[in-house]
Symmetry: C2
Subunit: 427 residues, 2 copies
């Protein structure tokens, strides 16, 4: 629970605005609160609708114009000069089913408070910056209820069509369109035009905590190969069917889960991460050898050549498992992305700002996908991390100290100010 090295010199006293920010964060954490200290507010759920209504009110009270676009992205606009593009800053309020309070939510609230401060600043000084300012709460970043993840930013950046997003169904058959209507968050249009983007997020790993770093400046994302596999077997009786006659797809799927871990263990120093998060068995009855298992398997690495080697090992294993479990493994879908950098001028800007504030900082990579990884492909984007205590994430015990989230807010505020004032235009 230490936060060694995370102090901002001269900022040890928390100011009134920071106190208000922490209060708002505690308030936000009550939406979909779970008994275990986390939150459950999947995209388009009642809790998601409630927190979005609350956020609309917060934006409006602070002089921002709140609206939803055609895929339910929530914007708070400060239009300082009509017709100018926007610096878009934010993250996502939706969560996994039993999630922590920080993932996404911290980034949205920090964006809002940064924006409120800058609005007050510009009003007081009479300065009109070059760009307008938009706070954003992207729809369905998590992808737990509606797949794929990062849906709102994917539609915004043209990576996914609006129609396919709205038609996506959850396991109960509810469409995204219906969920957005249910939560009264389906709007119109394509949102503000972006010139720059910024996002702050918890690290979700433990490297920054270990190294005593208060601000991580994300310079690239890890490469990832994500697969949906369907293991096909044949239904049989768990008791009476002779073992040699079985085509047990749950055995095949289990060997695949184990193989994924063995592949990760093959590479030293955690250079490759592998995982299976979702696995569904059919017919999933106590006395039936199942006939079908669907599972999602990920391979990730910061080194594309290692990822390629891991992928080759996986495909070798697929064939072995087909033979040993007498099953067929179908690759139902795949979604692969390379290592892609965040714009170097944005990285340099964030480093300069952190240094000016005397905040410990380092370049980091993001292993997880974020809305900013979509946005960086269309506009220069700055992505900042704050430390995660013990690296715990997607877990009710996710935690970042108040000091660290306040430091992040300060650095983000400076970054957004610079972007709005056109600091990167001059490069």
């Amino acid at each position: 629970m230490s936060s060694v090295g995370n102090h901002e010199p001269g900022h040890s006293e928390v100011c009134v605005e920071d106190t208000k920010f922490l209060e708002h964060f505690r308030m936000l954490s009550t939406f979909g609160a779970t008994a275990g200290g986390g939150v459950d507010r999947q995209a388009g759920s009642e809790a998601d609708g409630e927190q979005r209504a609350w956020f609309t009110q917060l934006l409006t009270e602070n002089g921002f114009t709140a609206s939803f676009d055609q895929i339910g992205n929530q914007f708070g606009l400060l239009e300082l000069e009509a017709g100018r593009p926007y610096v878009v800053v934010g993250s996502h309020l939706d969560s996994q089913p039993t999630a922590g309070r920080y993932d996404g939510a911290y980034g949205v609230l920090a964006a809002a408070h940064a924006a409120f401060r800058l609005a007050a600043e510009w009003q007081a000084s009479g300065v009109t910056p070059r760009y307008n300012l938009a706070v954003v709460n992207w729809f369905n970043e998590e992808g737990s209820r509606f797949k794929p993840s990062m849906m709102g930013s994917s539609v915004y950046t043209g990576k996914m069509t609006l129609d396919s997003a709205l038609a996506t169904t959850d396991p109960a058959g509810v469409t995204v369109r219906e969920a957005l209507e249910f939560t009264n968050t389906l709007g119109e249009g394509t949102g503000p035009q972006a010139a720059y983007c910024a996002e702050i997020h918890i690290e979700q790993g433990r490297s920054m905590e270990r190294d005593g770093i208060a601000i991580g400046v994300v310079d690239s994302n890890w490469a990832a190969n994500k697969y949906e596999f369907v293991v096909h077997g044949e239904q049989a009786h768990t008791g009476s069917t002779v073992i040699a006659d079985r085509h047990d797809d749950l055995l095949g799927a289990s060997l695949l889960v184990a193989a994924a871990r063995e592949i990760a263990d093959h590479f030293p120093d955690g250079a490759v991460h592998t995982s299976v998060g979702q696995l569904d068995v059919y017919p999933n009855s106590p006395v039936v050898v199942p006939s079908r298992v669907n599972l999602l398997l990920d391979l990730r690495s910061a080194d594309e050549s290692l990822l390629q080697e891991a992928d080759r090992m996986l495909h070798e294993r697929l064939e072995q498992i087909e033979r040993s479990a007498q099953v067929k493994i179908e690759k139902a879908s795949s979604h692969c992305w390379p290592v892609t950098p965040y714009q170097t001028e944005g990285v340099a800007l964030a480093e300069k700002i952190a240094a000016n504030r005397g905040v410990s900082h380092a370049r980091v990579k993001t292993l997880a996908g974020h809305d900013s990884t979509n946005m960086k492909d269309i506009v220069p984007t700055v992505m900042l991390f704050v430390p995660s205590v013990e690296g715990i994430s997607h877990n009710e015990h996710e935690y970042t100290t108040d000091q660290d989230i306040v430091t992040g807010l300060h650095v983000l505020t400076d970054v957004v100010r610079s972007l709005c004032e056109g600091e990167l235009d001059r490069q």
Copy 2:
């Protein structure tokens, strides 16, 4: 698809009653029919209600008094002399979600047709046998929707309390009581008093087909140890969480599934069967390392000492898996039963009858549980098997030839006649 050696000498021509039986069987197979040629009529479902209404009509049309007891067991009574106990013959009409047409349904319909023939016989001859006759369709033998399996016969035989059975819920939270009310099959009372019991069923294995046996006389059941394990891990991010920090319960569960198969493979000649049929992952989200997996694992053997050895191996593996996957494995429940014999006088009776008919027969063991394995603990019980083509079971392609199901009906009719006429009383 062969049925070598299954001919009954002198019965090569199918009689009118046998044709009617086959017609009724085809009719019965339309309830809950699936596109794949099987059936889906889980206990208390709409399809189950429909077939039960149809069966009531069939019983009534043939002069039997149809009723349901307090746990939804369906009886067709032929009370030849008031106050006398009954020979209870039948099986179950409910099925697994995508099941074959024969499992259970064949035994219920064969029981009804055997009873109809005997009723006509006794009416024609003026003979009144010693016992009354009851056809039974036990409620929820499969246990796929409402656990445990063999629920109706467990309540009937006092192995499960009525209250706990009625309060059992399916995954959607519907109780057995509600499902029985929904299908209009909740009755009163405890059903007829049994003196003897008989059941016929498909083998669900391939030994009889291999050996060219038309009738299997079941002399005992395999011993089984059934466990529900809960693997406890910790939610984490599938991408960003360092592998060494993970407590991945899906990895632990997968290693357990693989270990179960390794244990079966350790014993020669298929002496031990192991399986995991049901496995549920929480929260089962694409980018979350799960925190909990529930699974049902079975070990079965005809040899109790081998089962004990297999069980020791399993428990050794549990500890290894806890260490290697950094998870905790909880044994949430266990249900173990020994090898128990069917009454030898019943076995001898069935053998004598098969021999008299010139039908090939052999003693077999049941690997699966049946309602008769409950009944044999309270009254002398005869259990017969007919062959399963290629041993396929709990599968839409489950198949037994018309010739074999008719031969089974003939032998069952003779067995029930003998039981009703008190043949076993004299021993």
